[in-house]
Symmetry: C2
Amino acid sequence: MISGVLLDLAGVIYDGDVAVPGATEAVLRLRDAGLPIRFVSNTTRSTKSAVLDRLARLGLSVTADEVFTPAEAARQWLAEHGRSPHLLVHPNLVQEFDDLRSGLPKAVVVGDAGEAFDYRTLNTAFRELIAGAELLALAPNRTFKDADGKLSLDAGAFVIGLEFASQKSAIVLGKPSQAFFRSALATMSCADAQAVMVGDDAETDVAGALAAGLAHALLVRTGKYREGDEKRFEPAPTATVRDISEAVDWVIDASKR
Amino acid sequence: MISGVLLDLAGVIYDGDVAVPGATEAVLRLRDAGLPIRFVSNTTRSTKSAVLDRLARLGLSVTADEVFTPAEAARQWLAEHGRSPHLLVHPNLVQEFDDLRSGLPKAVVVGDAGEAFDYRTLNTAFRELIAGAELLALAPNRTFKDADGKLSLDAGAFVIGLEFASQKSAIVLGKPSQAFFRSALATMSCADAQAVMVGDDAETDVAGALAAGLAHALLVRTGKYREGDEKRFEPAPTATVRDISEAVDWVIDASKR
């Protein structure tokens, strides 16, 4: 029995600005089958509205409520805890934090800052941490598939470096945080036991979802997937499939059981 | 019984270009007591000859054989293993690797590159690692005392970030590598049980030396020392002392027992 589907975006639905072949049709098949969907992304180089625009350009009509981003979770954390952000994020993402209060005790917010990661920005963040700031990690991913098709360093390397130097533990706000998966499932009243996650990151999407308590997690061989990824992390995927189309076949089949 | 003394340099003998008060006289007292000394530094922002020049300016006559640096250990490793270096080090240190063979399989060499750490250089190193290069860490320190007197990010944060993303373990060539401490002790025919290390880094110098098997390790309250450091890492220091002068008092006293 499946009553809710979580889909990763980059590497599952699109690669850069191009749809993964069959992705749009696969999502529509889930809709037709009456299965509620939420999109859970660890992308921290785009605002949520840019993500929605990109999906619209691919022919997918998705509402803001259906997309969960780490930046949104961080905004909520900062508001709940009365903290002002010290941002170490991609320039594209800065505006997501524009309207938050300044002047409160700080929390360092680390996303995939890309070229904005340099010694000075990292050392400034480190000094905030040892002066008392909390460390919020929007995403702890090891790698992402870059514009040239090769793997590049994702935010995780910088988060773990800051943790090591400051001897503080990061609070993770995107996948594989259990709270992140749970908040997406809660909006479709889907129990863990009836949920499935589909992603291209064997660690953060797949092992992460299973460790967070979801019953099923499918690994697609698109995006950042590399041969053997399905054996690289525990728990292993429920199934490893060609792409989102084959994942949707699996989900629709399982939802009828 | 003490028959050999290992001294850290930055934070113990000098702070920047200035001697720690009493340091020169303290080293001379060890010499007068007939105790052999080796200087073991994790500094990777200066060549060995620059280190020797600095000591000479402080009035300490030290030979090249008495100073052990991670860069020298890395040169030896590269030669023994038939590897060419891919350098991610401080511009000052590049010349230490100038005469090594190129064209061999690569090893990524990470030092305290300072401003040379940026997204591009780190990602290039990461891609060498996933293409098969080994990872050599000149020093895994968390922090160092910067020119402004505050703590700054040391190479350790970047080493652990690259390890995390590439899923490779670094080979450490400076402190706290047991081989590094041992190679310095061997040149003065000093057994572990009769050796003492003096340093300002409670983790790399002190806990590191004890974990490597040295009988004694003294923590000085100069350099990067921060209140409570003596309780922060295991094994705890044999003793925590004001500075190098008090450390030398301890060593001379112990050498007579």
